[in-house]
Amino acid sequence: MTFTPRIGVYVCHCGINIAATVDVRKVTQWAAQLPGVVVSRDYTYMCSDPGQALIQNDIRDLGLNRVVVASCSPRMHEPTFRAAVSAVELNPYCFEMANIREQCSWVHPAAETTTQKAMHLVGSAVAKAALLQPLEQRQAPTTPAALVIGGGIAGMQAALDIADAGFEVTLVERTASLGGHVGELDRTFPTLEATADLLSAIVERVVHHAQVRVLTEAEVSAVGGFVGNFEVDVRHGDETEKLKVGAIIVASGFDVFDARRRPELGYGDYPEVITTLEFEKMSQGEGWVNGREPKKVVFIQCVGSRDQVLGHPYCSRVCCMVTAKQARLVRERLPNAQVTVFYMDVRAFGKGFEEFYDGARGAGVLYRRGNPSEILRRGERVVVRAEDTLLGEPVETEADLVVLAVGMTPRADTEALAGLLKLARSSDGFFMEAHPKLRPVDTAMAGVFLAGCCQGPKDITETIAQARAAAATAMVPLMRGKVTVEAATSFVDEELCAGCGQCASLCAFGALSLHPTKGVMVSNAVLCQGCGACATACPSGAISVRHFTFDQVMAQIEVVADFRAPQLSVAPAEVASSS
């Protein structure tokens, strides 16, 4: 028997996010008279419990076999609705989404044409829905082991949590020793605890943990496979080891801003000008610059942070407190030294931070608001030139020690690692999380998670918390023991394929390979993530992606390309407003 689509259309108000600019009612009515549409409804929040119930009841009561929701970007909610429809035994791939928020109501004024665009989008979704095919989601078992890249505080903490939960962890560190940047610090803020104590405790546990294997002076050289079943090449020394892991945690850390990029501050020219990191070494007993105890110390904040000119528009988050700590240490150790801090805003936001900042001022540290413009030599000393913006006067402050609070920057090798792991980067250059709020440790690559400063500047506390968050998220597939693999994957029409391999070179997941004898390409359904890059590259249209087939996409284009205003005729289907 031939398949006849019974489509339900559900238009979401998203509160006023959509309803304020799009005539939701009109869209709903228009959709009702589209071919195949059985019911068309609108509701304030489709994603809410009652909204989903609405859809599920219709599937049951009206025997819908295809569902279209017109609301927001599928990125967030497609899983929600797929889950909803499959809960009432409709194949999740029989669901289609029209994005009338990001692609319509949010970017257009409230106007008839905006409503018409919404209609076009809904119409094209309906046209596609009619051609949708149910797809089978397969499950794959997971390897109960994890790989952690980076042996800093983040990597170690993540490794420990996962190992404590009973899974094998391989910790790969490129340098010879564990500890990362934290190892270079003297004391921590705001407790002034010796970093060494804090660190050594963790290193001890990592090194002696039965479930943790540490590979120092090692690097990940290749990554294949997919969530639950990654195959990783780790190069250490001249041999390369193959690992099988179920999850990967990236904790590759950060680089420190090169103060030479702000030449006017004289770093490199004047020995008196050092960075906060160098101060830490000094503070650990390396002794003061050319042995002389400084009488006048100036700290300068935001060097390489909040600086659009140098392409670092972001705040490095830790410098304010690092400087407060160091300024305070100077006052403690050299009670007669004048200590001045130049700042733009003091960002003491963490637990106990504001109190610590109060303490620093209480200890006699002078905070002056202003971003110093240059440092000049004046005899024995250097002089810091700035405006005290609260005095409204330019000032010159003499110093025999100047400490530049250098910001955090993405690691130089971020690009390379991003390539290996197919990770996206945010505009600031750090690795990009799947969702800035609700998925801060996930990435676009299922099974690969972010921990610590490789995702953005963080202090130790936040780094550890986030590392443990990454651990928890990584544990989910490991503990479940299986993962669901994407069903919307690519497939090759051997009749058309000329085996030119352009698709293979474009595939980010190594899912395509040349058949040894047939001379045509073969797609590995488990590796394929359904991104569709192959399909666009193939000149003969030999590759298509399920759920985005040529016919389905053409059907969508047909509707959108029809620039005539959608006409509203009497709706044959049931129109109901449930809002």
């Binding site: 058309l496 000329a498 030119c500 070179s505 590259a537 003969s540």
Partner: protein
């Protein structure tokens, strides 16, 4: 090394034939791809194994019935079945290299025998003239010697040849050098030392005038190319623009068949994807007011351009094949030149250069992608 083989009483072709025969006799190669002449003077691209058949070989005739790259692709597949040689013009070699990158051929086990190319004529014109005996190989070789355009009044080279910037077969292991050729000095052939030793070829006495002549040729072609491209750009930017250039297209797809690089087994436009339902035509017509029938003529050209422009070596076979005399080759060259410039890519230069469309550099966002 640069060797020279003697030329008996000025008959360069004989020497070439002799050389090719020796490659077979010596067992250096099992077979050689080279055009053979029939009595009428028509040229048949052929794979020759019998040295005797070389008596009819003529890789010097100023015509190119097909671009040999496709033939070599067929010969080699993923690996050449034996020790095979191929006598090819520079544009054929460049097309072949693109095909290799597209995994449609391989250089493994293949020996490229390149020939300096003074240019070719449209096949029908040439046959006509030749019938009248009004053109011979000597004129062509003489022109090559001096770096002149062999063309005469009312009888010009194919546009692609007049505007060719790569008349020398650089990537080939064996190169027959015609530019600056002085038969008295013999025919200079560039070949690997071991081969020279094997065939007992003597080293060439002098460098000869080739480099200067070549420069001159490239210069004249360059100028011609500028002129032609400017012309076609003008038309593309004129009213009607690109579409109007293709108005004469009759959807015969000859260009596609003639193109050495257009390699799909079945063209997308012959696949099921483009057999539209009747309603499609009606709704499209309703949308536009009028619909060209059969549709997808312009779309076909654009799609081919999209697929080929990066790899187009400007051999011009498409133009030669077009019954409507659309300057397909020039249009592709014009568009191709821009695409190739954008990606800093020169098709056919080297296997080392990756295909631009399957490699991605971040800076391409702004340089190639539209500026924000």
């Amino acid at each position: 090394m640069k060797t020279a083989i003697p030329v008996e009483n000025g008959d360069v072709l004989a020497s070439v034939r002799g050389f090719l025969a020796r490659l077979l006799e010596s067992g250096t190669l099992e077979a050689i791809y080279v055009p053979l002449e029939d009595g009428s003077g028509a040229l048949i691209p052929a794979l020759v194994t019998d040295p005797a058949r070389m008596a009819r070989a003529n890789p010097l005739a100023p015509v190119m019935p097909i671009n040999g790259a496709r033939a070599v692709s067929a010969l080699t597949g993923k690996k050449a079945p034996g020790r095979i040689g191929a006598v090819l013009r520079p544009c054929e070699i460049r097309a072949l290299i693109e095909l290799v990158k597209l995994q449609q051929a391989t250089l493994e086990g293949l020996t490229l025998i390149g020939v300096d190319c003074p240019g070719t004529y449209e096949l029908p014109r040439y046959m006509e003239r030749r019938g009248q005996g009004s053109i011979g190989l000597d004129e062509v070789l003489a022109a090559a010697r001096d770096g002149r355009d062999p063309g005469s009044e009312g009888f010009v080279l194919r546009t692609a040849c007049r505007t060719c910037l790569h008349p020398a077969p650089d990537p080939a292991a064996i190169r027959l050098e015609l530019f600056g050729l002085d038969p008295a000095q013999g025919l200079t052939i560039e070949m690997p030392d071991d081969l020279a030793a094997k065939l007992g070829c003597a080293a060439a006495s002098s460098e000869g005038a080739r480099r200067d002549v070549l420069e001159k040729v490239v210069a004249t072609h360059g100028a011609a190319r500028e002129k032609e491209l400017a012309g076609i750009h003008a038309q593309m930017n004129a009213n009607g623009g690109l579409p109007s250039l293709f108005n004469a297209c009759i959807r015969c797809h000859n260009c596609m068949t003639a193109c050495p690089i257009c390699y799909c087994k079945t063209c997308l436009f012959k696949s099921a994807s483009f057999d539209h339902k009747p309603e499609h035509y009606l709704s499209a017509a309703q949308r536009k007011g009028a619909l060209r029938m059969l549709s997808d003529a312009l779309l076909f050209q654009l799609t081919r351009m999209n697929h080929m422009s990066a790899s187009c070596v400007s051999c011009g076979m498409c133009t030669s094949a077009c019954p409507s005399e659309i300057p397909v080759g020039l249009i592709f060259s014009a568009v191709g030149a821009q695409v190739q410039a954008a990606f800093g890519y020169e098709p056919g230069r080297s296997l080392e250069d990756p295909l631009p469309l399957v490699t991605f550099q971040a800076n391409e966002w702004t340089e190639v992608g539209e500026a924000k």
